[in-house]
Symmetry: C2
Subunit: 305 residues, 2 copies
């Protein structure tokens, strides 16, 4: 079963304490697709300008990412320039040029409309709602969002919440959206407004999956060097959604595995600039990292004497 993603296809220029990259593949849809394509075919909807180096998308096409939903518009592609200092947990945005992305109106190709697994990456909630009106009967709809939309599109975001099955957001966004400092209370607040599942990402501090019945936590993998944190959240979402689409199993046990697959993908992507590492790794690498996550958290509950 393939997974549909609607999001940004961008060019990133990034500086970290370990190096610089200029005009490399970026954007939520690219990261998501590179990650999810390890699990299942991906259908991508986005927009690029006339200057986009489309040949650089070939490796993704070769991995079962279908770009039939990529619109080519007159004008400049979406560009983001950012810097990470010693604290790799927060990016400093130096420049954002939306270009053709500012007029993006997602058009879901006919052959994508029956998608069963849909990820609405971080775009205007009005567009996310519009996408929902174009898909037929998805099994699982997940969305991401960010501080900008929480501030400027709150009513639309609340409408969206009522229509999705799952939301991913980071801890500060969860606090901002819900005005609850405590993450358990923040998750409750969101669960009461629609989604059956809330994934709260804490960057290097791991991720929580909350439902009305349970809480699951997966740490971030303790890497010896984090090279470039860009795209970790979307790679997480790609691994998570891709695994669910591949297995078609929405049981609690399988969703927990999906969170760990997502965490594994997030831990790979930060090892290089852009989607470089995601294009290198194999299923065996992913399995090995999942096994390492298992060793990292496993303890035997049976108490001693």
């Amino acid at each position: 079963m393939s997974v549909l993603v609607v999001g940004s296809v961008a060019l990133d220029s990034v500086e970290t304490p370990f190096g610089k990259a200029e005009e490399v593949l970026g954007g939520s849809a690219n990261y998501f697709a590179a990650s999810a394509s390890h699990q299942t075919p991906v259908q991508l909807v986005g927009v690029v300008g006339s200057d986009y180096p489309v040949d650089k998308l070939e490796p993704l096409k070769a991995r079962n990412v279908d770009f039939a939903g990529l619109e080519y518009a007159e004008g400049e592609s979406f560009r983001w320039r950012g810097r990470y200092r010693h604290d790799l947990n927060s990016a400093e945005t130096l420049e954002t040029r939306l270009g053709v992305f500012s007029h993006f109106k997602p058009k879901i190709p006919a052959q994508f409309r029956s998608a069963k697994y849909v990820f609405l990456a971080n775009i205007d909630p009005r567009l996310q709602l519009d996408v929902l009106s174009q898909v037929e009967k998805p099994t699982l709809v997940a969305c991401d969002t960010m501080n900008f939309w929480i501030e400027s599109r709150r009513p639309d975001l609340l409408e969206l919440l009522a229509r999705v099955d799952l939301i991913t957001l980071n801890d500060s966004e969860a606090r901002q959206l819900t005005e609850q400092a405590n993450l358990v209370q923040a998750a409750r607040w969101i669960l009461a407004r629609g989604p059956r599942t809330v994934l709260i990402k804490k960057g290097e501090h791991g991720a929580f999956m909350f439902t009305n019945e349970s809480v699951f936590f997966a740490p971030a993998y303790p890497l010896e060097s984090v090279f470039d944190p860009t795209g970790a959240g979307d790679s997480f979402a790609g691994g998570f959604m891709g695994y669910l689409a591949r297995t078609g199993d929405l049981s609690e046990a399988n969703m927990r595995r999906a969170v760990v697959i997502g965490s594994a993908m997030g831990s790979f992507v930060v090892e290089q600039f852009s989607i470089g590492r995601l294009l290198e790794i194999s299923r065996a690498d992913i399995d090995a990292r999942v096994a390492a996550f298992h060793r990292l958290v496993t303890f035997d509950q049976a108490l001693g004497a």
Copy 2:
């Protein structure tokens, strides 16, 4: 097997967004003892001034905490006054009055010198070294420390490192001590200087246990309300050391269980001011929370289709 703790016995005045407490039991040794005493008898070494409300220690005495090593000195007891704002992860110290604690020279009573499990709570590394010269042949010596000693007593602290089996410190202290931003590299740095085990505490983000062979991570329990974070680290250490002393088993599997017991104790103590909650809970409560930790992190590695 009992556990020996050397540390502060203080009076705390704390303000949190949820209330205020004046002159309540505080200090590393009190928190450690209240926590460890759920597992095993505790021998405590510390000092109080002539104004200390010693009757308030009775509940600890009733729980097998032996105060034979508590010195009574002329002068004021150690007092700490602090405040937590909305971000409960960091305390703002309003006032520290060391009182008799500034002249503290730990004297280990003869009947405590054969202690097998020793916790050197956060005091001057010179005093921690001095304690080591007074104990006979401990099985496991653990120490804690803080930014102040890392800055002002670095040579002594390095000497101490070479003589302890285990160190607990928080993430910012680990970075400060090692000058490594990355926690895995920080742990490696410390492991190369003596301890076989490094416990890095990340407050609400959980705790890592590093050895040369493995890494274990336990999250902090996602509580719906954290009332007062004071003492979480020492309660963690108390649960950890107490459990090891009780079971006498230093295998990797048992040390992992000890970390989870420590995390459970840390999650209880923050539910009330001072050691209040630790005096209320039973072994059944601890077991139930350990089980909840297990549910929180458990996933089945076996992948689907």
